[in-house]
């Protein structure tokens, strides 16, 4: 048992090491690091209050005073983009957390007990997967009223089946392994087996899957903000900022360009890292 955990840890470390040797995934990690720093330090870094309006100075083009210009209410776009990092990061982390919290138990129970339980739970995931994620999230967000918390709930509700499926297949594999059968034979309780043997094995593949999906979550949240089912004004959420700014294209391009670049950069960060992980996991895909 301990040997297996150690083995698992070594494997994870090796995976991390191999991932980091790749310059592209290193770049991805750097971008994510930057995102976290910016989110944490936004109040220190931002030259202005992101909500402070300055009507006399609205729609000012980028300059040394306002690096990214000002928006339709004279708010500093640079400061808003920085604060937006907090929101995107929060959405991404919370969504990942909630969808795995739902997906884990469903997948593990399904895979461990099989039979009726499995059938029932898998039919439920089928139902959720019979739908494109954004459309489902739209419907849920609309039913819940648009707030940031509800965006998280909507995307999580639309996204958990992926993790349930993954957790299920990993559980089924582990269940067949010798040490689990041994534990069952010596009469270990089911909850003990699930917690001590199955769960640790399920965690790392799911976490990897989550990190691969992080970019997608941010894009979905931005999409919801863009069509008006997401964050509320005056929140500096990137999707909402693009949506507000698109009415000022082409004259005041900076309103929607900078938040668009910010989303692209952050998602690129997650994608680069995810790509690196995938490379290590699936050597066929490797470049060299």
């Amino acid at each position: 048992m301990a040997a297996r955990l150690r083995q698992e840890r070594v494997r994870t470390l090796r995976l991390a090491w191999r991932t980091l040797r790749n310059p592209l995934s290193l770049a991805g990690l750097a971008i994510i690091g930057l995102l976290i720093c910016v989110a944490a330090l936004a109040p220190l870094l931002a030259p202005y209050d992101p909500l402070r309006t300055d009507i006399a100075n609205r729609l000012a083009p980028p300059s040394s005073h306002h690096l990214f210009g000002t928006d339709q209410l004279g708010r500093d776009v640079f400061s808003r983009v920085l604060y937006g990092a907090r929101i995107s990061l929060r959405i991404a982390i919370l969504t990942a957390l909630i969808s795995t919290v739902i997906g884990f138990p469903v997948g593990i129970f399904s895979g461990y007990f099989r039979g009726r339980v499995d059938d029932l739970l898998m039919r439920v995931t089928d139902m959720f997967m019979a739908f494109p994620r954004l459309v489902l999230a739209m419907a849920i967000a609309a039913a819940l009223r648009p707030t940031l918390e509800n965006v998280v709930i909507a995307i999580a509700l639309a996204g958990w089946p992926t993790y349930a499926r993954l957790a299920r297949s990993v559980t089924m594999a582990i269940r067949e392994e010798v040490y689990v059968e041994a534990a069952q034979a010596v009469g270990a309780s089911t909850s003990r087996i699930l917690l001590r043997h199955i769960l640790p094995g399920v965690v790392s593949p799911v976490i990897i899957q989550v990190s691969l999906d992080m970019g997608g979550i941010i894009l979905t949240a931005a999409g919801l903000g863009f069509i008006g089912f997401g964050a509320q004004p005056p929140t500096p959420e990137w999707g909402l900022m693009i949506s507000e700014g698109r009415n000022y294209i082409p004259g005041q391009w900076w309103l929607s360009t900078f938040p668009g670049l910010a989303i692209s950069l952050v998602v690129l960060g997650f994608n680069l890292l995810g790509d690196g992980i995938r490379d290590v996991l699936d050597p066929r895909l490797r470049g060299r």
Binding site: L51, R52, T53, I55, A56, R58, L59, Q72, L73, A142, R145, P146, T147, G228, Q232, P233, P234, E244, R246, N247, Y248, I249, P250, G251, Q252
Partner: protein, 520 residues
């Protein structure tokens, strides 16, 4: 070598894919065709007895003739299908003499029977806009054809001339061709409402050719129109929900006019040589409402503190100055408007009012609005302004279905919304904002004030001077005690290619009629 050949094949394929359709610049619309970019998906039905949305009312104004029309300044009625009219001494009964020789698009004659049929049909169908007729005419039998060319209409109250026109120039009383209606009637739809929703039975300058929902509406000139043949042959209304797409299409010359741009975009276009921006006042207003049923707003001091806390100049700037300033419920340029603007941003005064009401420590309030620019920006600004007097506002941007559901159920705390006049008379606004019994805005905001008696009295006052005085008193009371902050009468703007002539925005139905429009 082979490998690079293979790469070449791939590259060429890619190149072909991308460049297979290279330039072929268009960008000029033919001279006798007018293409308008706007939002048309609001239209539910083009049956004049049902049309109540911006697009459908405006289209029906081109397709159907009415008995009378408003003069361009909306101060009196002018003849249309009715050549002339007389009024009984009590101001209730109007007798119209019809123009002769007028034909429907079908070739059938427009006669007194058709007028009687059309207005009675509104009663029979009883659809959304029917209240414009049924509030002033009690029953269908009060509309009577006399012979071939006279119609007598008896109203339920004395009607000043402009009130009469409010009913009879409204497209809801557009004259439809009875023969076509009968031909397309079915047992469960004897008034052929379903058919007329997408078809034409009018006598106006343009014929409705086709309507692809949410895509386009095609109109064609009616060559035998009684005022003469329209100068344009065809008009196309194109669904362009995104203001930016409209802007790009207009600049590239793919459309002749853009009708739903944002204030900033109009302002930027105004500097261009090939494009003209025209504007007109409107009979509509944007307001903030406070629900008197929400404890803090039951105090008139708190309501007035809000009025003193808002930065009206900033809101004007947000609108790019494209508004008529004013704070009363009857828009500027409408008959009876009270040009008083007592409120301006004065935080000290607002704070002392809050103290007086016992709310010096402030309170929380939810502010609802729809994602209809620039209203969300205004909401963000007002949130900031009210924070200065201790009101902690949470802005919620809702679908209009949600907002109206909450608003009608009186469950809101604050709302930012719009109101547009259904007819160009102060009665419409006074009823909505000040008469609790009408179950409109005063009711929704739970403001039941004796001022409603004045509203009921004013509508039937035949003496123009006295009537004006009454409306001014109503406005004054609402301004000083009411639960509304009126912050703008936005201007109506349209942007045209410079070669389009005669297309003018109107305060009421978006534009004056298209009969005279032509292109250079």
């Amino acid at each position: 070598m082979n490998r690079s050949r293979c790469m070449l094949v791939v590259l060429v394929t890619l190149a072909l894919l991308v460049t297979g359709w290279v330039p072929n610049v268009n960008g000029q619309v033919a001279k006798t065709l007018l293409v308008l970019g706007r939002l048309i998906s609001d239209a539910v039905s083009l049956d004049p007895a049902q049309a109540f949305e911006f697009t459908s009312v405006w289209v029906d104004k081109q397709v159907y003739d009415t008995l009378v029309d408003f003069s361009k300044d909306f101060s009196r009625a002018v003849p249309m299908l009715a050549r002339s009219w007389t009024v009984s001494p009590d101001g209730k009964t109007y007798t119209f003499r019809l123009r002769s020789g007028v034909k429907f698009h079908s070739g059938n004659p427009v006669d007194a029977k058709a007028v009687e049929f059309s207005i009675r049909r509104v009663f029979r169908l009883k659809l959304t806009p029917s209240f414009i007729v049924t509030s002033f005419i009690d029953k269908p039998e009060d509309v009577v054809a006399i012979g071939r060319d006279q119609v007598q209409i008896t109203f339920n109250q004395p009607m000043p001339e402009t009130m009469m026109a409010s009913v009879l120039a409204n497209p809801v009383t557009g004259i439809v061709d009875p023969a076509l209606i009968q031909k397309n009637a079915t047992p469960d739809d004897p008034m052929a409402n379903k058919w007329l929703s997408t078809n034409d039975a009018g006598s106006g300058p343009f014929i409705l050719r086709s309507w692809r929902r949410n895509v386009r509406i095609d109109l064609e000139a009616f060559p035998e129109y009684w005022r003469g043949r329209p100068k344009l042959n065809r008009i196309i209304l194109l669904e362009m929900p995104e203001p930016t797409t409209q802007l790009l299409a207009l600049q590239r010359g793919d459309i002749d006019a853009a009708m739903s741009l944002l204030p900033r975009q109009y302002r930027e276009l105004a500097g261009r040589k090939d494009i003209i921006v025209k504007s007109s006042p409107t009979f509509s207003l944007r307001y903030l409402a406070m629900n008197v049923g929400y404890e803090p707003f039951s105090k008139v001091q708190v309501r007035n503190a809000v009025k003193w806390a808002i930065d009206y100049d900033a809101i004007k700037r947000i609108w790019e100055d494209a508004i008529d300033p004013g704070q009363t419920i009857v828009p500027a340029r409408m008959f009876g408007h009270l040009p008083e603007r007592p409120y301006r941003k004065n935080v000290e005064r607002a704070r002392s009012l809050m103290r007086e009401a016992g709310y010096e420590r402030g309170f929380k309030a939810e502010l609802l609005t729809v994602p209809d620019p620039p209203l969300p920006d205004v909401a963000a600004k007002i949130k900031e302004d009210l924070a200065a007097i201790g009101i902690d506002v949470e802005v919620k941007q809702l679908r209009s279905a949600d907002l109206l559901g909450i608003y009608r159920a009186q469950k809101h705390q604050m709302v930012i919304a719009r109101w547009g006049a259904d007819y160009p008379d102060p009665d419409n606004l006074a009823k909505a904002f000040a008469d609790f019994d009408m179950r409109q805005l005063a009711y929704r905001n739970q403001w039941d004030h004796p001022v409603k008696q004045l509203v009921k009295q004013a509508v039937g006052e035949l003496d123009r001077k006295k009537r004006e005085e009454l409306y001014k008193r109503i406005q004054k009371i609402t301004l000083e005690e009411g639960p509304y902050v009126v912050f703008a009468y936005p201007l109506r703007q349209i942007a045209l290619r410079a070669n389009v002539k005669g297309l003018e925005p109107s305060p009421l139905y978006e534009t004056y009629d298209l009969f005279e429009v032509w292109k250079e």
